[in-house]
Symmetry: C2
Subunit: 448 residues, 2 copies
């Protein structure tokens, strides 16, 4: 154990005299230092949380570090942005999820450095924590393909704060249109752009159309929100590229039923506040939502090895760094072709499998057993399109329309972390389905 | 109607040529200009919202202006700050509440000026709206008695944003204590100060004690949150000064059962980040919540008449300005001794009565009937103290303990705007009562 050394190196901790090293072991970071192996997990998303859950009650000391106090159920974040669900319904405090895991300590802090030689990590508040095993699971954000300045005008949805921000933008767009129409008889053109025709973009575009056509329509007295224009821009020749072509086509038809304009072969050339340039033409839009590209956590770059274009860390078949079998990199942060030669996709399902698998390998080490390489189990892919509509692919089985949508709802309810959240989300969906109401239509924040 | 003039005066609108005045009437702000009297209501709190609701479907055109898109149920804001309820459960979009009120237009904007002579108001985005009747109902915030610099370190709870901010502070205090105790074996002293022993202060202090003793206790593995110190500071010799002395005493006993230290005769001398000075002594505290003092909306000062120390506007018995019978000032913004000589209190119940009363007088004008002076109907006063505990006063009837608490819960459920919210809040309370769980324990915001 090298906590003493780690502390001595940390300038904020002050020097520890050589003679005091023995006693300082008692004051080491773990406090409950038990002689057991120490596993430090960075990130409380799907990968990190499932690793921690799989290690709960085992003969290891686990420290889970996250910037946020909650796990966010990312597949439903877009429903917060589109007023279906409230933030509290898709997020659970990490402490609460892990309340019965006596060997797991949760720390609200941020990783700022890793020393692979000394086996310790440095935290933003100046502390240093040693590890026997390190699990890096800090996820990814959207990539703006070298145009980070676009983010201000075209936010993505990766955190609760992002989702609340986008919800705010969407609702304010209607408010502003109403205001202009009422006071100035002005332009009440309402246009939304969604960039990226993957599952997220498709879900957001469908949900915005649903808000405009159904949810807010009765509440606005001057504008007709059903005249809202929703455009979905996709650079490739078709949306939902990971699905077979006929499902892409079905998704397109379903989006068009919701009056979404599906614009394929339409890469965004540039954008700024209130407009977006596609195929040489500037299109005025009130809100742009970004839903494409992957940019892995900058933590990957701290490792001093070459990462891929998206910032993902290449890993060994057991998800560890080359020559560092104690360092696992999982979820959206890492890049792996598994034993079957399949590139593991950046999905919640994959991160969950990797988290559980990592825990299993750590326990195998402790039991003196051999590790096994990771194999991704494809349990199917789903994309929902507004209310009642979806496409799904399970191996060779394709589904679309209401059946796919129902399946989508059931799968997401099942996966939701925390019994409580499952109940409230299910109730919310049923209520919203029956009444068409939305409970989460608050604009919070300070400027009008 | 003088929209034309108003517009011409507004520098942002540009000049309108004299000859164009006739046609510009059509382009006037109301759009649906009907020849009917126009009522402009500023503020969507209890006063403004009940005025608008009481005018719904009547022969007037109503414009309700608010900086926020939602009505906030202020009496339960402290429950958002203390993790019982989610923001969406105590707030409803104003548009949704007024969806069936075809003659009420809601505008998201901010009042920046009033011209009582010309009878128009100026909005932050540069528009000018004329009125036949003006209802000012913009509420109040807490007062820091000339020390506005304290607000940064001792936030009050008047808006959803405030409540989310305080919730964040409270939850972060526990996170930081756990972090320090785990990593540094350092000071895990957890102290909270609540300033002001009125109903709000009593409710917050009780609720924080409840969080520490019951809600988060099982989730923290290094610190014992039940050792949390909650101090309630009151300048007067007793808390809940508006109640009879024996109820104040009962409230004190109930708070002490929750391990809240009730410190009366203890005005705050000064405070800064992390400490508060009382009776010459600096007391270290992790969080300070401010719950005293009234500072009425600055809109009162735009009227060019003398306001009282708290910024409240003195009004005539019919709640109007002297010599301006078309301008009503209601709710926490105004100050009135009613016909019975009673100073109308700054309570939701009073604002609701004043809003409904104002609408009635406007309709009386239109019907050529005489106005009646306002009389406040005291329907009782309640203060809750954590779970199961409360004090209540109805005329001469006093209640305390569980019976008062149950009554408090029923009254607040009944008053909640919107059928939907009533259901979800009731369900949340019942769930939280039975399980001791809290659903709203998210820390949102960006810094750790």
């Amino acid at each position: 154990m090298n906590e003493t050394k780690a502390r001595a190196e940390d300038p904020k901790q002050g020097k520890i005299e050589p003679g005091s090293q023995d006693t300082s072991l008692k004051a080491a970071p773990t406090r409950r230092a038990s002689g057991r192996k120490k596993v430090v997990i960075v990130g409380g998303g799907f990968g990190g949380l499932y690793a921690a859950k799989s290690l709960a009650g085992k003969e290891v000391d686990v420290i889970l570090i996250d910037k946020k106090n909650h796990h966010t159920f990312q597949p439903l974040l877009y429903q917060v942005a589109t007023t279906v669900l409230s933030p509290g319904q898709i997020a659970s405090p990490l402490r609460t999820v892990l309340t019965h895991a006596d060997n797991v300590e949760v720390l609200l802090d941020e990783l700022v450095g890793i020393d692979l030689e000394q086996r310790h990590v440095c935290l933003a508040k100046g502390d240093v924590i040693s590890y026997d095993y390190l699990v890096l699971a800090a996820g990814a954000r959207h990539s703006y393909f070298g145009h980070d300045e676009w983010e201000e005008f075209a936010p993505g949805i990766k955190t609760l704060e992002d989702a609340i921000h986008v919800r705010r933008q969407i609702l304010l767009a209607f408010e502003r249109a109403e205001r202009e129409a009422f006071l100035k008889e002005g332009d009440d053109n309402l246009s939304f752009a969604v960039v990226g025709g993957g599952p997220t973009g498709v879900e957001i575009a469908g949900a915005i159309a649903d808000i405009a056509n159904r949810v807010v329509a009765p509440d606005f007295k001057t504008i007709d929100t059903r005249k809202t224009r929703v455009m979905l821009f996709e650079a490739a020749p078709r949306i939902l590229g990971m699905f077979p072509e006929d499902l892409s086509q079905k998704a397109k038809v379903q989006l068009e039923q919701l009056k979404v304009e599906v614009l394929t072969d339409s890469p965004v050339e540039t954008l700024e506040a209130g407009r977006i340039k596609v195929k040489g033409e500037w299109i005025p839009v009130r809100v742009i939502v970004w839903a494409t590209g992957v940019s892995a956590s900058p933590i990957g770059k701290m490792l001093g090895i070459e990462v891929d274009k998206a910032g993902r860390v290449p890993v060994q078949p057991d998800l560890t760094l080359k020559d560092r079998s104690e360092v696992f990199v999982i979820g959206d942060m890492s890049s792996l072709k598994d034993t079957a030669g399949v590139q593991v996709p950046g999905l919640a399902a994959a991160a969950i499998q990797e988290g559980a698998y990592t825990a299993k390998n750590i326990l195998a080490d402790l039991a003196g057993e051999a590790r096994r390489p990771f194999t991704y189990k494809d349990k199917g892919t789903l994309a929902t399109i507004g209310r009642n509509r979806a496409v799904a692919l399970f191996g060779k089985v394709e589904l679309s329309g209401f059946a796919a949508w129902l399946l989508w709802a059931l799968v997401h309810i099942y996966l939701l972390i925390g019994f409580r959240n499952r109940l409230t989300v299910m109730r919310e969906w049923i209520w919203s389905y029956i009444t068409g109401e939305r409970s989460a239509r608050l604009i919070t924040g300070n400027d009008v």
